[in-house]
């Protein structure tokens, strides 16, 4: 008896390829490789063969066995894959359906971020009216009515003097105006309350500036003040450095430059190291100007707020006894800080309210 190995292989190949499921395939496996299968038959006749033909025959039988094993395995894998392909698989590369969530205005977000830093330190939020008295906006803050210091605070005045515009009407015989800073709230709070006071005041302010990319007749400020029996300039520096580190970054550098504000003395302007270029070269020099940083103009510093120790005259104006208290106050432009923080180059964007803008925050 002899076998045609080539024909056998071809026949098995066809049968295996036609097996549609795992059970049929198993039947084929038993038929070919089982204990009583084809290969068993093939090897059973070896002892009957002439001695010299045996090695060649044995080798061919072995090759056939390996080949069959291969074919069965490959088909088994195929059947399995075909089976799973019938299940519905979720395509996670599809974009998710994002819910229509609302947004908070970037100015409101910045106000909240700054207020939160201070409220965590124990400050209390206070607000004041936007229509103010001349006394609260100027005189009470040690800004004489006819003084060059007033030049920095050009102001919108209210037309109808018969209309007394206040949230809580006060009997003050002076003109009404749109507050040009949030500092009048210092006067309001201190007139009503004795220290200790740790207060933060966010709000809108108005100045007659023509609108362009960096000016607006309406913008936002945050004012803060701390008044107690023993508040020091070093406390002001400490508190503001906490603010700068939390608001911008841990590595931010800060400097206090002497300045003049009528309502604080000593007064300072506060600069932080430029958040974009981080350079500290002070000036441009002739001819060979390097590319100047678009944020700080190559100065390396950004002015972010004004501050100082509350002037004794202000305490006198709210009726605090002379020498009883010391305190500090500071004020910053929220729009400017938001512009620096988010890299916004045009203040008008805040008031146009284009969703393509609002959605970026």
């Amino acid at each position: 008896m002899s076998f045609d190995f080539t024909a056998l292989e071809e026949e098995a190949r066809q049968k295996i390829a036609q097996a549609q499921d795992a059970a049929l395939l198993e039947a084929l496996r038993i038929q070919y490789l089982g204990r009583k299968g084809l290969l068993a038959e093939i090897t059973a006749i070896i002892p009957t063969l002439p001695l010299e033909a045996r090695p060649e025959y044995g080798k061919n039988a072995n090759l056939l066995k390996n080949k069959l094993n291969q074919l069965l395995e490959a088909r088994a894998r195929q059947i399995k894959e075909d089976a799973t392909a019938l299940f519905e698989q979720f395509d996670f590369t599809l974009p998710g359906a994002i819910p229509q969530a609302g947004t908070a205005h970037p100015i409101a977000q910045t106000v909240k971020e700054i207020s939160d830093i201070f409220t965590k330190l124990g400050f209390v939020i206070a607000e004041g009216p936007e229509v103010e008295t001349e006394f609260n906006n100027f005189t009470g803050l040690n800004i004489p009515l006819d003084h060059p210091a007033r030049d920095a605070f050009d102001t919108f005045y209210i037309k109808s003097p018969s209309h007394q515009v206040t949230r809580s009407p006060e009997k003050e015989k002076n003109r009404f105006l749109l507050r040009s800073h949030t500092s009048p709230v210092q006067i309001r709070v201190m007139k009503k309350h004795k220290p200790p006071l740790a207060v933060i005041v966010p709000g809108k302010v108005y100045r007659p500036d023509a609108v362009d990319a960096s000016h607006s007749f309406m913008f936002h400020q945050i004012e803060g003040f701390l008044v107690d029996e023993d508040v020091k300039f070093s406390d002001l520096k400490g508190i503001l450095s906490v603010l700068a580190k939390k608001l911008f970054s841990r590595n931010i550098k800060m400097r206090f430059r002497p300045h003049f504000f009528p309502f604080t003395e000593p007064s300072a302007e506060v600069d932080i190291s430029c958040i974009l270029c981080k350079s500290h070269q002070v000036t441009k020099s002739q001819g060979h100007q390097e590319k100047r940083c678009s944020v700080c103009g190559g100065k390396g510093w950004l002015e972010i707020m004004g501050c100082g120790m509350i002037h004794p005259n202000v305490f006198a104006n709210v009726g605090y006894p002379k020498g009883a208290y010391t305190g500090f106050a500071f004020g910053m432009g929220v729009d400017r800080i938001a512009m620096l923080k988010y890299g916004i180059n045009d203040i008008r964007l805040f008031y146009e309210n284009d969703l393509r803008f609002l959605r970026q925050f």
Partner: protein
Amino acid sequence: MKVTYNWLKDFVDITLKPEALADKLTMAGLEVKAIDAFDDDFVFEIEITSNRPDWLSVIGIAREIAAITGKKLKIAKTRRTMDEGRRTKDDGRWTVTIEDKAACPFYSARIIRDVKVEPSPTWMVKRLQAIGLRPVNNIVDITNYVLFTTGQPLHAFDVDKINSHHVTASPRHQRKIIVRRARNTEEIITIDGVIRRLTPEILVIADEKNPIAIAGIMGGEETEVHGSTRNILLESAYFSPLVTRGASRLLGISSDSSYRFERSVDKASVVENSDYAAKLIITHAGGELGELYKAGSPKTQKKIITFNVSSVKRLLGQEIALSKVKSIFKALEFKVAASGKNVLKIEVPAFRQDVTSEIDVIEEVCRIAGYDTIPLSIPAIKLSALQEDLLLTIQEKIRETLMGVGAHEVITYSLVSEESLRKARVSLASVIRLQNPLSMEQEVLRPTLLWGLLTSLRCNVESGSRKCSFFEIGDCFNQGVEFRALGLIADGRELLEVKGIVELLLEKLGLCGVEFFNSMNASYKEGQTAGIRIGDKEIGTIGRVKEEILADCKIDLANIIAAELNLENLKPFVNFQKIYGGLPIYPSVTRDISLVINEGIVYQKIVGAIDALSLENLEHIRYKGLYRSEEIGKGKKSLTLSLEFRSPERTLTDAEVNAYLEEIIRKLSLELQAVIR
């Protein structure tokens, strides 16, 4: 204020490079905005704060540099070289009279004869050009040069043009300079060629008849120095800051001169600075020094401030050694005398009018020692007496809720135009206006948030964003009152949806007894708007925005719903307190009923009638839908309600619920002619 590096070097030795000097100045309160190379010199642009008029001069800045770098000032060497012997006495040919001593406490006039008016020397021309001035001739240039060097504005008159229409044959005729208030009908042509009408608020220098200069602001054209001028009268004076400021504002003129008088010049140095100018004139324009006429007094009151050095530590949190304090004041030309332990008597120089009290003295110590020497500390913050306004919590709650329903917060301008309010059909009757608006676009304080919301909507429609809701929280102004308001505007939401948002908001604020009542509002469509109130207090409005408003605003949309709430009015009713009410134990039974009712019967009426039954186990009445059709008939509508019954004690039976339903239906058909479908 512009100064040059070399100009400063005339008065103080500077070893620092321009950049390093700029940094030092900046950190002492003279902020250097820019340094620009000019020829072989550097121009510093310095921002001078309004409290330091003494810094509006090269000498003033040099004095500061001397103090911060520890170098000596060289003022005497450079400036005070006037030959005292040649200061001729008043020979009586002129009289100087001051009519208003408050407006001009001191006036000096010096005659210089036979000058030769010609171009200035190159070095002076270069310096003036460096700081942006246009050279004119040696006399005018010298007055400018001395102004910038010393801070004292000067004016040179052509003597022969003064009183020109009065000059008599006699050389002994007495001539007059009068410092007086202008008269109402007077006019002067100033050197810029403009005719200026004068008023008594304005101080002038006049001859016997006419004004020849506006005091401290600008000279007159008639007496101006020009090429053929031979004899000059050099004015150096002190004019009151208030009067100068008032006149400068009235006339709309701000000059280098008025800028300094407004901030106050150094009265004590008026003559000295005139001497300096005279010396420069004689050196560069020749001529002969004539008489010096004076009126008034240059005396200033001696100011001595008692300074307890320990107050530095109290205010700064850092001690500064007594010796250091003393050296700072010496460098700034203050006189210091000890007066007990740690107490100093500080005599303030006349040019430092900003220093009047101890706090000013502390500031000087702190400024020169350097703010960077003050350490950082964190104060103990005590609980403030002030309590936070509930409005802040209300706003946070609103913001949170509205963002949750997908609305976007906007901030719009509080100043609007009358026209925009007219477009929005908002009454202008009691609006508040600005006295000095920048433009008509911003002349009214907004009485409502509606206009701003419409502009936000328009901006987004134009940029292709549809079906969006916006809200704003901000102050509005009307009838003499400023109040905090909330405005909401929605595109692509039905009236009931927006009402639902408002109801959700009011619920979050813990408001009870809120009522929506049909009303009229010029901005909203008739029959589609309601007021919102709690008891008698009106807290808001809701409605469909009139289509003609949308058309006028060029908003290409229909069906815009808006709502406004007055947060101040609802504040007293807000209640954030929450108490857990338990969870039901027994299941509820829900039954829907559909009623056909007359068109005029509102939902609230039905609910009210059911409520009046006070059924103890009726838990909820819910609205399911409203339906109109021909089948139901004209003037009728079908209302479907869902009624949920639950007992806290047991599971209700069908029979019990049916009994409740029957009772309800009986009442509704009896009282409201409702028919069950």
